[in-house]
Amino acid sequence: MDIDDDTTVFATLKSFKNFISLPDASLNQGEPAPAQSNPLQRQYRQRIELLEAAEKVQSKTQQIHEDQEKRQMAMSHKRARIELEKVASLSARDLEREVDRNQELLGRIRRLEEREVESSKSLSEQVEANRALRRTQETLNLRIMERDAKLNASYQTVSILKDEIRELKQQIQSKQNIIANQTLATQGLQEQMELQQRKLALQEQDVVIVKNIKSEVAKVPEMEKALRQLREENIYLRETRENVTLLKEETEGLRRKVERMEKLKEEMVTMELEKEVCVCVPVCACGGGANKTESRLIQQREIALKQQNYTLTSGCRSVERSKADLQGELLVQRSKALEEQKKRETQESLVRRLQKRVLLLTKERDGMRSILESYDSELSTNDYTPQLTRRLREAEDVLSKTQNHNAEMEVRGDTVCRSAVDKDRIEELEAERQRLEEQNNVLELRLERHDLEGDYDPVKTKVLHLGQNPTSMAKKQRLEEVEALREEVQCLREHLRSLQTGGAVPAAVGDLGVTVNLPPSQEILDLRKQIESAELKNQRLKEVFQKKIQEFRTVCYVLTGYQIDITTQNQYRLTSLYAEHMDDSLLFKASGGAVGSGGNMQLMETDFSRTLGEMVDLHLHHQKSIPAFLSAVTLDLFSRQTTM
């Protein structure tokens, strides 16, 4: 603003000066011209003076204005100065501050430069340290690389060893499988052997059994005798029992009689005693003579009674003894009968057990027969089966016979001896059963192996899967791809054929099939365009060449007067413009290669050339110039034509 005001002040001063200068000029110019006394000139001068006065007034007003403005400007200038001074002071202060700052900054800069130097030193040191570390790192890297290489080598060796281990394991497994198969085969063969041995043993056992049974059968009549004896004893014992009962009754009767007798005796004794007492009293009273006879009588009666007593008691004792004996015999007989009953019961129980065992054995035998038949069917060896069936039948016959004998024995009443034989047979059968169980286990293992592999019993299970499963879809896709590829191949082959036969029509691609996509690539299009353009160029060149050559030939004909035609290789026929006949022509032959290389031209004999023999001699033979000859011929023909 200050600057602007200054400029305006200067501008106004300038204008003022200019203005001041102008009126002087105008005044100077105005005075020398009053002598001319034209009214117009006066008017003009008056007008000019008026104008000048107006201008003066204007200038005065302007001056006043300008003075006012000047004052204002001065005022403003003063204000501006004050402000400027303020600003200057402020700027001085700022300058001082900035100088201080500069100094500070310079100091900082120095410090920073020092630090820079130090840091550069440290940088260099660190760079050196870095380099050293890099070297060490490189060496370490090299070492690591070496170790990696070693590790890789070791990994490779490890992998190779693992592969070898796998191979060996697989070989081992295969060999183990072979071994297992062979052991199974050997086991099978052993089992067959054992079967046959068992069959032999069975037969031997059957023979032994038959012998035993025969011996038993031999024992049967003795046993029948013993039975009869026992039955007779039984009858006898029953009879004795009846006798015993009778004897008992008799003894009871006798006892009662004895009792009665004793009672009677006592009564008799008492009676007699009373009598004797009665008699004795009077007897005592009467005398003693009669006492002796009565006492003798009494004594005789006593003796007789005593004798009777003794006989009775002895008879009783004998009867009691006989009774005791009979009772003993009874007891013995009873015990025997009980024993017989027990024996019968045991025999009956044994018989039942034997019946059960026989049933079990028959079942086992049936089962074993079925197993044997299954094994035989597996083996399917024609050599063995008839013998085996024969043996089986024989064994079955023996078994049936033994069963019949067994039944008969049961009916008659068995003994204990047979159970022992049965027990032996049962033990053998149990041993056989164990072997069969082991076989069963082996078969179950085989079944399990098949089960692991995925085999199944079609009777109990079936295998299902979804129709739309990934494998079938993948197979379908493959087939479709294969089909598509085949079709593509066919289309391409046909396309190739069409291309080879000529006329590659890109439009035909679409006719060959929808699935074939031969995208006309850019290269092909460019090449086609190039080809077209080249062909066009060719055609144009041909046309141009044709035109030019035509032109040239016509010009040659016109100028030289000869039409030159190439008939065959290196033969040229010239026909003159002025030829009298159409067939008049000269034949030249170029020998010695191409014409361009300057081969010799020779004139050939024609009808027309014969008529020109003189010129031929002159120009060709003597002068050896074909152009001269040709021009001579032309002149000659021309002369002939014009004259003719």
Binding site: D451, T461, K462, P470
Partner: protein, 201 residues
């Protein structure tokens, strides 16, 4: 997840086993490279991270099979589940993952839940899946393009549902069989094994 706090019921056991099959089959497909690994995404199950396929077609197929399998597990009519891996070029079966299922049929009659903790079942399942993952070490590489199929061995008298059809057992001839671990929910017992074609040298 069956949240039977008191024990395992037949339905819960069927769901657990079906879930195991779903994750197990996905693991096998990922490990054997039947489908490219970028089509699988990680999920957490049984306290371990497993791979689940994101391919919609495959997902639908697996969902169909597993849902049908769940029904059959509930009816106790399924005997085995087999995952068969076939080479597409030669149509040979290269690997066979077989899962034998033994069902306790008394659970059908009594509806009382069995006493077995879900954690212990999950532990067992985890060990089986770890073994499947570790089986990569001894199984031969599948170098050709392969595809898989799921076969189910059921009772003979079972009614064949819609879209299912009978098939052969697709057994590998000359195979090596390796038995893996088994797990049991006290109602269903699952035995795992893998059979692979012996590679001749």
């Amino acid at each position: 997840m069956t949240s039977t706090l008191k024990g395992i019921t037949l339905k819960g056991s069927a769901e657990l086993v079906a879930e195991f099959f779903s994750f197990g089959i996905n693991s096998i497909l990922y490990q054997r490279g039947i489908y490219p690994p970028e089509t699988f995404s990680r999920v957490t199950q049984y306290d371990m991270s497993l791979q689940l396929t994101t391919d919609t077609k495959l997902k639908n197929y697996l969902a169909n099979v597993v849902s049908q399998l769940k029904e059959w597990l509930f009816d106790c009519t399924v005997q085995k589940l087999v995952l068969v891996i076939t080479c597409l070029e030669t149509n040979e079966v290269l690997e066979r993952w077989q899962f034998d299922i033994a069902c306790d049929k008394t659970a059908k009659e009594s509806s009382a839940p069995r006493d077995k903790s879900i954690k212990s079942i999950q532990e067992e399942i985890r060990s089986v899946i770890r073994q499947i993952t570790a089986s990569v070490t001894f199984l031969p590489l599948l170098e050709t393009a392969c595809s898989f199929d799921l076969l189910v061995y059921t009772d003979k008298d079972l009614e064949v549902p819609d879209k299912w059809e009978e098939s052969g057992p697709q057994i590998i001839d000359q195979s090596e069989v390796v038995r893996l671990r088994s797990f049991t929910t006290s109602i269903h017992k699952v035995n795992s094994m893998v059979a692979y074609k012996r590679s001749d040298f």
